[in-house]
């Protein structure tokens, strides 16, 4: 692609229009949430000043937004990739848990290894864990037995309990039964500039870029789009349908598993019972709102991360339960959902 065509796409009308609509929708969500705040006797202007002052007002606050984006970006990609062949992966949450558990096993077992051995090993283990967890629904789907939406959803409820079993039965630290001992520093993803932004951010961006390139410029991307468009026609044209369905589902699981690894290694540094609290579901939402588009995923994650990070400060300054920020989050999601043609096409 020449530089000129790239520029033309970047400044094209639709992108500008899309961003304008984005801003309008977020304003609408803020307005609705403001009304709710007002109804509970809080000052909405002060609340928003707190939220945005805390997230945009300081470099550290902004870095916290980037930290919150990391698992969203990766789990959204874990949904976006399978959606291109028509697979609906609602199982990011479970795959993330199993990936985190596999990576934790690596971190606890090989803690004497140097970081350059341990971290890639943990990443690999996390991906294997997620892929194994996704293999079951992928296989059942490919032989036409059970719909993957249902199985991935069910397996989401199983995974955290297996993790709980492992922590409670084997891995818990002497002090505490709901978490493992802290990882050694070699098992922690490096962070940047004294913030909590860790290497997972770079991994996420690289994966998104890779996804975009593969879908656009490779034969695999073309074949995947063909399957997503009409699986039977694709099969008759000699594309190995079954193989693709299984491999892509496992890849999606591997990506979600990597998100789990990056979260326990980069963010927590320890495996805690029920640590995710819906990260995988959030990834699913972000992916569908963005129509599976990498840039859309980035923008959507950014907005959601601002809201959730700002919510922490709302809790501190306004004395509201942290969960209340979910209202603003949901309102923002509602307004985007209510205009389904937001990102054109690409919805599997």
């Amino acid at each position: 692609m020449s530089a000129r065509t790239f520029l033309r796409i970047a400044v094209s009308n639709t992108l500008v229009k899309n961003i304008a609509r984005y801003v309008m929708m977020m304003l609408l969500a803020l307005l609705l949430f403001g009304i709710i705040l007002l109804a509970t006797g809080k000052d909405p202007f002060q609340s928003y000043r707190d939220m945005f002052g805390a997230t945009f007002g300081s470099a550290y606050g902004f870095s916290e937004v980037l930290v919150a984006m990391i698992p969203m970006l990766i789990t959204a990609l874990a949904v976006a990739l399978p959606s291109r062949v028509g697979l609906i992966n609602v199982g990011g949450e479970g795959q993330l848990y199993i990936g985190a558990a596999f990576a934790t096993w690596g971190a606890l077992t090989f803690k004497d290894q140097p970081a350059w051995v341990l971290l890639p090993l943990m990443a690999l283990l996390g991906m294997i864990g997620g892929a194994l967890w996704a293999f079951i629904p992928g296989y059942l789907k490919s032989i036409g037995l059970v719909n993957e939406t249902i199985t991935t959803l069910l397996m989401n409820s199983i995974a955290p309990k297996i993790v709980g079993f492992l922590i409670f039965g084997f891995w818990h630290s002497p002090m505490d039964t709901v978490k493992t001992e802290n990882f050694v520093s070699a098992a922690r993803l490096p962070t940047f500039f004294n913030t909590r932004v860790h290497l997972g951010f770079v991994i996420a961006l690289v994966l998104l870029a890779l996804f975009w390139i593969i879908m656009k410029y490779t034969r695999w991307g073309l074949e995947m789009r063909a399957i997503g468009g009409n699986p039977q026609a694709a099969r008759r044209n000699g594309i190995p349908l079954k193989g693709y369905l299984i491999v892509i589902m496992c890849l999606g699981g591997a990506i979600a598993g990597l998100a789990g690894m990056s979260h326990v290694s980069g963010f927590y540094g320890v495996l805690i019972l029920n640590f995710s609290m819906g990260l995988g579901f959030m990834g699913f939402l972000i992916c569908w709102l963005a129509g599976g588009d990498p840039i859309g995923i980035f923008l959507m994650s950014f907005v959601v991360a601002i809201i959730t990070t700002g919510g922490n400060f709302l809790q501190l300054t306004q004395g509201l339960p942290y969960a209340v920020i979910n209202i603003l989050l949901a309102l923002a999601l509602f307004v985007v959902l209510a205009s389904p043609k937001f990102f054109e096409g690409k919805k599997a």
């Binding site: 059942l140 939406t149 069910l154 199983i158 309990k161 209202i327 959902l337 209510a338 919805k347």
Partner: protein, 305 residues
């Protein structure tokens, strides 16, 4: 282990299973019309918190139950607007509704954490009033428990023995054909979602006003998702949903029994049994048309434009 502890386990299983049964029945109606409601968790939370708050304010549990039920129906109307009117993706809209419920219920329940209420009165099983007090108190249930199974039969009758139910199932199988035969898929789906919400509200009311008698943040602890799993387990049939709810609460009871008798089995693993069983049931029945999901489940109805 004595009779008393077994009775205690039995009684707690019934209490914890009732809210599940109502929610599952609601979801059966919704899914039969072609709509998966992943927002149930949020609907349950908002119903439970608002019902509890109203019970605290008015001192009357029946008003609390009524409010919880209505709120459940209204919460689902948000989902209805998004997926029926605006044709948004069902799963994503449901998850958004779930997050909405997390937030709204925390806001509603904030001032009522730890409050005391007049719970729904418990009535002893007829004929057992003369037992020692310890026994009869374990065998006393509230009105929502007594009505749970009749409601399941009512839902079955509605779905399989009325014209309205036939239309609803037709919409769930193929909305275009249903439209061609003179039914309004949009209206029917709104009605199904509203009923779904009413029943979920009833389940939530039982949870906060009759069973636990408290409100705590995220008190439903995954019941919305369990209900979705139970619908699949019962293969979209209201009477089999009774079995599903019994199985689930039975697993909970079994776990309590094991613990009280000192057997060491991880409660985490026992918790997975209902889900694993559901997956196995799906595999066992897979490919059999008689037992499969409504054909249009999860699809957007685009109308005739």
């Amino acid at each position: 282990m004595n009779l008393l502890s077994i009775l205690g386990v039995f009684s707690s299983a019934i209490f914890s299973g009732t809210s599940l049964l109502y929610t599952t029945l609601g979801e059966v109606i919704g899914e039969r019309s072609g709509i998966v409601n992943l927002g149930l968790e949020g609907v349950l939370l908002v119903s439970a918190s608002s019902g509890f708050a109203v019970t605290v304010i008015t001192g009357n549990p029946y008003i609390g139950v009524l409010v919880a039920v209505i709120i459940g129906g209204l919460m689902n109307m948000i989902l209805g607007y998004l997926i029926i009117h605006r044709k948004a993706n069902q799963l994503a809209s449901g998850l958004a509704l779930m997050f909405f419920g997390f937030g709204l219920s925390a806001l509603i329940g904030k001032s009522y954490v730890g409050a005391k209420i007049n719970a729904l009165p418990r009535i002893a099983l007829p004929g057992l009033e003369n037992l020692p007090k310890l026994y009869s108190s374990l065998l006393s249930f509230d009105i929502l428990i007594y009505t749970a199974i009749p409601v399941a039969f009512l839902v079955w009758w509605l779905l399989f023995r009325t014209r309205w139910g036939l239309g609803l199932r037709a919409v769930g199988e193929n909305a275009d054909t249903a439209y061609a035969s003179g039914r309004d898929p949009r209206l029917i789906r709104y009605q199904a979602l509203f009923l779904n919400g009413l029943l979920a509200g009833l389940g939530a009311a039982h949870l906060s006003i009759a069973y636990t008698m408290t409100w705590t943040e995220y008190m439903t602890a995954g019941r919305g998702f369990i209900a979705v799993a139970l619908v699949i387990f019962s293969r979209w049939h209201p009477l089999r949903a009774i079995v599903g709810a019994l199985l689930f609460s039975g697993a909970v009871a079994f776990q309590l029994l094991l613990q009280s008798s000192g057997v060491q089995v991880s409660p985490f693993l026992l918790d997975t049994i209902p889900y694993v069983l559901t997956v196995l049931v799906l595999i066992a029945w897979g490919g059999n048309r008689r037992h499969s999901a409504p054909a249009s489940l999860g699809r957007v109805y685009h109308g005739t434009e």
